[in-house]
Amino acid sequence: MKWVSPWRLRRMGILGMNCRNRDFIGSYNPRHLFPLVDNKLKTKLIAEEYEVATPRLFFVVEQQHEIATIEKKLTGLEGFAVKPAKGSGGKGILVIIGRRGDKFIKSSGVEITVEDIRRHMSNTLAGLYSLGGKPDVVIVEDLIQFDDSFEGYSYEGVPDIRIIVFKGYPVMAMLRLATHASDGKANLHQGAVGVGLDIGTGSALRAVQFSRPVTHHPDTKRPLHEIQIANWRDMLLLASRCFEMTGLGYIGTDIVLDKVRGAQLLELNARPGLSIQVANGRGLLPRLRHIESIKPRSHRTPEQRVDYVMRTFTRDGQ
């Protein structure tokens, strides 16, 4: 079977790209709020204001001439992540996990020189990774020391949890595990493993790689069904609070679990992808329509909303 009938997809409640763009992003995300999430620096600053935990910001590079003296700023930093503030789809993120002599070690293990970092930053400033090629700034922030509970679940990268938050209600979640095939990236279409998570408990529902079901991590061979996210409710709360923070009705929140600092908001996405449905094996539409049908202001606080979804969107429920 090469094609699926659209009626079948509709019965499964699968959200399509056009429907997402028009009925959810277009209707619930006011355009003027987009810069808040499209610019990671702005997200970070507003997150601090709302006391939403994010990775520590080391410094920002805004001008080309600052790049010349970048070594000075990097001294004393063992691991760090270089990110474009307006990057999209994980483009332009450079993760340095350590040093060897005057070389830097990327998360993939490849050694690069400070020249490579300079070029990367220069490209970023010129807007190579930003949406529409607009000039950008470089963020250098703390590396995430991922939690031991994920040991053996991720290859060369940080496992992050993507939670779709609709009108402040977390509606669907998945854990994204980098693989060798995905080159340490957590994007599903690049070959990362997506593990659907039960909203009620934070335990694994099923896992896919390249849209195919998998039971074990392809590189580390750890069984994926044992995954159980610790402090699941806190994570949902963190995600839910992003609604008040941004005012955006339909967002994807990327959360990582740091060994020391706990759940951290990595970034927000105003156009979250659709493959979370494949990882969960169910469509988003019924849940989104359910949230739409809830009376406004029936749950005022993030706590109330999270409790509601943990009751409602269970493994066998909606």
């Binding site: 094609w3 699968i14 399509g16 790209m17 056009n18 429907c19 080309q64 020249e115 449905q277 094996g281």
Partner: protein, 516 residues
């Protein structure tokens, strides 16, 4: 965040479609712009040849010309007569063509050619004031005979038309009575006689000269007809047959209130007509008769040719945009750069498809090779793009020159490619290559080319070029379709493949669950 009612939106869509189609239809009917590109219309090409012998003095020859003949419309007219000045003089007597020459001697031949579209409805000519019957004076015996003849006809008729028919019947009788024979003897020309008799009876009548049209006839002359005013309009009668109304193949050349041909400064003048039935492109016909109606303002035919050809391309763009929207929203094809495919398609229109594809692919792949070297130089982005623009210009120039040397004149046309866009395409594809690998480059590059080729195939279709150029208002329909697709929230074709894994996974699980 309440969803707004969709009624206004759909009424805008319906309004746009109706406006577009309605205007097109009105323009088609009123201006006769054909819907099909190659449509041909039959026309009569009539040539009047005037011969005379010039005395060596200044020559003025005037010829009566058709003036809105019923059932016909003039399409073109011209005079061919070397050494003569030519002008058309319009007066309330009718139109006359005038040839003039300072001095001419010996036999002269003048030509007047005109093309007529036939088969049109007869619009009754409204006379500004009701025509009056002329007074007619006969000699003694004829006056009596005419009076008796008219009395007979009058008693057996009721209207001017029936009166005319009765008179013709009396005059045409194989064994005419005394009165009729007497009148015919005095005035052998049936038409003139009939006209005089009618005027005497108080019915306004005049004679008209008509030309019977038959394909490929030469040396034809005009036939005299009689027009009778019935109180509302002029009705034509053929005095030879009594037939009423204008036959389809009769062209009224002029009326008897003016002479057919006057020649001053010459003698032995003769006129003869020849005609052929030919076809001309309907579009040309419509263009030639573009009048001052509001619909012709919408058309771009009044612009200079150079601007027209620009509009020709411009009006194709909405269709290209429609193709892009369809391929991206409904089909879900990935393209690099949203509307780059249209620009490529436009370039293909100039170069032809095969050559265009070849040169586009070679320019882009050449550029990609050079770009990999550029990335090692660590240039700033803007400078790098500018470098690429310059390099693309070089590549295109070299390809054009090589093509020219190889004898391919078309090689020059690849300069039509939008160079800045190509430079950006190379840059994006190069980054895509580095980040996502060559497969994604092929997917997006192939998608762009596929959309471009589709848009090109649509745009080069002669009918579509014809319709968008001659009926620019049809672009409103494209606009409506584009807006309609902007409301589409269903699945894309590509998603039917993308999510098929979910269905398959579900089936696998169901089976596994069943065996447990």
């Amino acid at each position: 965040m309440k969803k707004p009612s969709r009624a206004p939106f759909y009424s805008i869509i319906v309004g746009l479609i109706l406006l577009g189609l309605g205007t097109a239809w009105l323009r088609h009917t009123t201006m006769e712009i054909p819907f099909l590109a190659g449509e041909q219309r039959p026309v009569w090409m009539i040539e009047a040849r005037v011969d005379f012998f010039a005395n060596g003095d200044p020559v003025v020859a005037t010829l009566a010309l058709p003036d809105n003949p019923p059932g016909f419309r003039m399409f073109t007219e011209q005079a061919a007569s070397p050494g003569y000045g030519w002008s058309v003089i319009e007066s309330n007597q009718g139109r006359r063509g005038e040839w003039t020459k300072r001095s001419a001697a010996g036999p002269q031949t003048l030509y007047y050619k005109a093309q007529f579209v036939g088969g049109l409805d007869n619009d009754p000519i409204i006379e500004p004031q009701i025509p009056q019957a002329r007074s007619v004076i006969w000699d003694g015996p004829q006056a009596t005979a005419a009076g008796q003849l008219l009395a007979v006809a009058l008693s057996t008729s009721s209207t001017p038309q029936s009166m005319t028919r009765e008179l013709i019947k009396l005059l045409k009788d194989p064994s005419p009575d005394q009165n009729a024979s007497l009148m015919l003897a005095a005035e052998p020309n049936m038409a003139t006689l009939l006209e005089k008799l009618l005027n005497q009876a108080g019915i306004p009548a005049r004679s008209a000269m008509g030309l019977y049209l038959e394909d490929a006839r030469r040396h034809q002359s005009l036939t005299q007809m009689v027009e009778v005013y019935d109180g509302e309009e002029w009705v034509l009668f053929n005095p030879a047959t009594g037939q009423q109304g204008v036959p389809e193949n009769l062209l009224i050349w002029h009326r008897d209130n003016q002479s057919l041909l006057d020649v001053v400064g010459g003698r032995n003048s003769r006129i003869s007509f020849s005609m052929i039935y030919q076809t001309v492109p309907a579009l040309e016909l419509a263009r030639a008769q573009s009048n001052d109606s509001i619909f012709s303002i919408i058309g771009v035919h009044r612009l200079p040719i150079e601007e027209q050809s620009m509009f020709k391309l411009l009006f194709l763009l909405p269709l290209g945009a429609l193709v892009v929207v369809f391929m991206r929203v409904i089909v879900g094809l990935k393209t690099s750069g949203t509307f780059m495919p249209i620009l490529i398609a436009l370039a293909f229109l100039q170069t032809s498809l095969g050559l265009g594809l070849f040169s586009f692919i070679s320019v882009v792949s050449f550029g990609l090779v050079l770009r990999t070297y550029l990335s090692r130089l660590n240039l700033l982005l803007i400078a790098r793009i500018a470098t690429l623009v310059v390099l693309v210009i070089f590549i295109i120039s070299v390809l054009s020159l090589v093509g020219y040397q190889m004898g391919l004149n078309t090689g020059m046309t690849i300069t039509f490619f939008p160079m800045i866009i190509i430079a950006w395409t190379i840059e994006r594809m190069s980054i895509l290559w580095e980040e996502e690998g060559p497969k994604e480059v092929l997917v997006q590059g192939g998608g762009s080319l596929l959309v471009a080729v589709l848009a090109y195939l649509m745009m080069q279709f002669p009918l579509i070029g014809h319709l968008t150029f001659n009926f620019p208002e049809l672009n409103l329909v494209f606009l409506a379709l584009i807006m309609l697709m902007g409301q589409y929230t269903g699945y894309k074709f590509s998603e039917l493949r993308r999510f098929r894994a979910m269905v398959e996974n579900e089936i696998v699980e169901d089976k596994a669950g069943g065996t447990k």
